[in-house]
Symmetry: C2
Subunit: 147 residues, 2 copies
């Protein structure tokens, strides 16, 4: 219905030095009682990696080749601020890219509003950069490159 066959979904066809490979994870933010127990007990989806970051705990729950990420506020910071403003809920989508440096510098050069103008370390040895939600109509997008 809205499909124009002349438009390819392959971003590499636009001759850019980066590629989006898929959805890496979807994050859910909460204070203490989150979906973790129910995901494990009802669906058998269990945390396989957890680490502390500044102001929050990050837990990764594999689902096929992507993950659900639970962010639990442990102190002041971006997750606590989000919870104050919106309450518990889905927080961001992380897109797996082949080259986070290339996409970050390309987007900065094209005037896209980035939270991280230079990639920084993420969980589990990844390197990440967030775009500002106003760059994508309110959708908070993280770009992730795996090590």
């Amino acid at each position: 219905m809205n499909h124009d066959p002349s438009q390819s979904n392959d971003v590499s066809s636009e001759d850019r030095p980066w590629r989006i490979l898929g959805i890496h994870h979807v994050a859910f933010a909460s204070s203490d009682e989150g979906p973790g127990d129910a995901l494990a007990n009802v669906l058998g989806l269990r945390c396989e990696h957890a680490e502390e970051a500044e102001g929050f705990l990050e837990e990764m729950i594999p689902v096929g080749n992507a993950s659900l990420q639970l962010l639990t506020a442990t102190g002041p910071g971006t997750v606590a601020t989000y919870l104050e403003r919106r309450g518990p809920g889905l927080h961001h989508v992380a897109l797996l890219v082949n080259d986070v440096d290339a996409i970050t510098s390309d987007l900065c050069a094209r005037g896209v509003d980035m939270v991280d103008r230079v990639p920084r370390p993420g969980g589990a040895g990844t390197r990440i950069a967030f775009a500002h939600p106003r760059a994508f109509g309110g959708m908070l997008i993280e770009f992730v490159e795996e090590s």
Copy 2:
């Protein structure tokens, strides 16, 4: 850190007649100005399927083997109600399952609070069932079986 190797992430090991295969899509709800244009223009991620449902337009944007789904309210209904309550934002996560009838009846039998106690048709020929967000600590989860 939080990983117990005795707990497998393979739900089939729990001897249930259904399996979760991966993340099928992540949905974002908005009124009219959503992320669609920016996803296409900035990232080259384009809608490949759109269809009208009752009270909203549903657009699917493939990203690797999953999709971003944009839900745009077109009248009264669940999307409009969500927008009134929370404003634009990430709405739900859809998990791809091998057998939506099996997981729905299993979850109902185990007392899990389901919005759909019987699967119903979803977009693009899928069959779907939503759990109630209170069943998963506030996370709205859809189960999807592809045709």
